[in-house]
């Protein structure tokens, strides 16, 4: 069966520090991968998605970047965090071959920038 791992679960970082969140998927190949951000009490905002290694599409211009160095690895990064980067970050995957019926989400990383 397929599983998605996302870490860390919580993170407190000072303003101006770098960020690296990692997400890996097991049990499938060539998945579509996504990074979302959720502000408190709000819906999910799609940040990046990837349909293959090295292929990244950005939905919202911002202080963040994403990379996909391996087929089942998706990394969210920032060189210098801002206070506004605080939020709940979620990684998700969906099938890259079959007509997509659903996306599967990780447990999320709660980032607090102080």
């Amino acid at each position: 069966s397929q599983t998605i791992h996302q870490w860390p679960a919580t993170l407190v970082q000072p303003v101006g520090s770098p960020l690296s969140l990692e997400c890996t998927v097991e049990g499938t190949s060539n998945p579509n991968l996504y990074w979302y951000r959720q502000a408190a009490g709000r819906g999910l905002q799609l940040l990046f998605y990837s349909v293959g290694i090295g292929q990244i599409s950005s939905e919202v211009p911002q202080n963040l970047s994403a990379s996909r160095p391996q087929d089942r690895q998706f990394i969210l990064s920032s060189k210098k965090l801002l206070l506004s980067d605080s939020g709940f970050y979620l990684c998700a995957w969906s099938s890259g071959r079959l007509p997509n019926t659903e996306a599967f989400f990780g447990q999320g990383t709660r980032l607090t920038v102080v």
């Binding site: 579509n32 996504y34 979302y36 009490g41 709000r42 819906g43 999910l44 905002q45 799609l46 998605y49 349909v51 939905e59 709940f88 979620l90 998700a92 969906s94 890259g96 071959r97 079959l98 007509p99 997509n100 019926t101 659903e102 996306a103 599967f104 989400f105 990780g106 447990q107 999320g108 709660r110």
Partner: protein, 112 residues
Amino acid sequence: LAKTTQPISMDSYEGQEVNITCSHNNIATNDYITWYQQFPSQGPRFIIQGYKTKVTNEVASLFIPADRKSSTLSLPRVSLSDTAVYYCLVGRRNTGGFKTIFGAGTRLFVKA
């Protein structure tokens, strides 16, 4: 991607049936309607998906009228553990990726 509109919050009591309606006036011919459930500090999880008429699974039912401009998620006999945010999504099923727009969702509070 079609925009969706759903109530911000709803209250219910244990054992009642809950119906959450979502409006999607600009739904396209190839769009499917999908509902997700999210508990606090967790990622959303898929509940049900449909294209037209009625779909039922072990968790919920989804009712879609002929014009497909709205849909209703029906949760039978809710329990306290059904307290969560429910998202209505509209999008295409295709092999090129599953980009979704999650709105604020509907916060369901189930009381004892």
